[in-house]
Symmetry: C2
Subunit: 297 residues, 2 copies
């Protein structure tokens, strides 16, 4: 299985990265505009695990859809994720100079360019899905609505606002923390799984199952991020460790300690794997889910 | 005509502002999230001329569409415009403390909140159009594609990048200036007129006419902005005058002087009015076009 898993993952990542290049290849006869595209690509190409687009593609496959049907929504969701990373790193936000071991976008370019590259990556995804003629119009509309709602006030951006607000408070409890994470990182992971099903034309029951899997995976994923911030090394992680504590971020580690946090992530992952039993041919996704729990970076 | 014009304009603005409120009324049980909505509304409610949404509604009417068909695209385009103003005012961009006589969003809230309020206003428009069940799916898809493409690299954001780049250069010629303006402000004005026609289900010939009108109006509108920056007072304009010169912005005034710039705006407006002759019942739009040329703020 190990070999097969790595092959499938590598194929997915190659497809995703080629698609991201394809959707951002509009060269024009203006240096400043091409610099904007370059800044967008710089952050898109910085790598990362590509979890969200892989989830789109894999759920599309599990629901019997073609790989081509997942191309646009997968690229779109990775762009939204990348836009959020670029803006999160800005001096007025988390003020991070590095991202995945490379200078963050505003360090490599300028702050103004990073704001605008993020802005462009927030809007382009909707054009890509709207123009995806391989999907019928009803499907495109639903994908756009899902992605936008997972991103805006009641999604990722809302979660980011709560996260910033929490930094100035010392009374953040587990309920608030779970709610914040369900928006900040959970909403987009749920959208990824749902969008994969929708792209394949799956019925509501399957979309709902994917959603429940994603909620558990998303929370486990975030708890592990919290754990890694205190247990990993800067070299392994590709960014400064201990940054949560420095910023007065309340984390699951702070609320329940490393051991209990790891147990919670473990429990959530087992429940997520249980839901995957209902999807036939989900060996790859089971392996991916297990790997995400074991990750060290 | 004067009285009727003011009445129509006032009705449009009332409808638009009610719709903007309606589309941002999602109160939730979280203070930080509600603060985000408040920051978005603060900038949306700061007023302005509402030119873009009025153009959407008026072209929809001229093409025989219902007012309800224009509600979502009109609100969407005003949100995109507002998001760009919020981000343009940021310290890393134009660093403006005031907008329309009120503290700009990052002054009223914080820089982080302004970045995120802008981000949310960049994404929400696509959800609003996607969920506009009064429009058929094909129309919604086209509206989303038009709006996104007018906003991203080859639209408003691309124009903003060129504008910033030009500030560090002293060799900006009229051709570059026209290109920059065609993106920075022109793209969204063209999108407004086109989207009004599309919402009404107009044919390509009408959309094309609206596009040509909009190109001329957009350029004239921008030339007048340049003129007002040197001829108006801070009180009239609601923002600091002379700011273009301070920031080494090349403007039409710099390239051709106030008189020639005004003549150019005049000529463009006459051409725009000529195109409107092809739309029956365009008295209001003719009056609006003429007024935009005469404005003092």
């Amino acid at each position: 299985m190990e070999k097969i898993f790595d092959d499938i993952m590598s194929d997915y990542v190659t497809t995703i990265e080629n698609n991201l290049k394809h959707y951002t290849n509009a060269k024009v006869d203006n240096k400043a505009q091409n610099m904007l595209t370059e800044a967008m690509r710089y952050s898109l190409e910085a790598g990362g695990k590509r979890i969200r687009p892989v989830l789109v593609m894999e759920f599309c496959r599990l629901c019997g859809g073609k790989a081509a049907s997942a191309a646009a929504p997968a690229a779109a969701i990775e762009m939204i994720h990348t836009f959020s990373l670029i803006h999160d790193d800005l001096p007025a936000m988390d003020d991070d100079d590095f991202r995945r071991g490379k200078p963050s976008c505003h360090k490599a370019y300028t702050e103004a360019m990073a704001i605008l590259a993020g802005d462009a990556l927030a809007v382009l995804p909707f054009q890509i899905i709207a123009d995806a003629s391989e999907l019928d119009e009803k499907t495109r509309i639903r994908l756009i609505s899902e992605l936008a709602s997972a991103t805006a006030v009641n999604g990722m951006i809302g979660g980011q606002v709560i996260d910033i607000d929490n930094e100035s408070r010392n009374d953040v409890d587990e309920k608030n923390l779970r709610y914040m994470y369900s928006l900040k990182t959970g909403a987009l992971i749920r959208a990824a799984c749902r969008m994969g099903c929708i792209a394949a034309g799956a019925d509501e029951a399957l979309i709902d199952k994917a959603d429940r899997y994603a909620s558990k995976l998303g929370l486990a994923f975030q708890i592990i991020d919290d754990i890694l911030d205190v247990t990993s090394t800067t070299e392994e992680l590709g960014k400064m460790v201990g940054s949560d504590d420095k910023k007065n971020k309340t984390t699951f580690v702070k609320v329940m300690g490393v051991e209990k946090a790891r147990n919670e992530a473990d429990k959530l992952t087992k429940e997520a794997l249980g839901i995957l039993d209902d999807f036939s041919g989900s060996d790859f996704l089971m392996a991916l889910t297990a790997e995400l729990l074991d990750r060290r970076k």
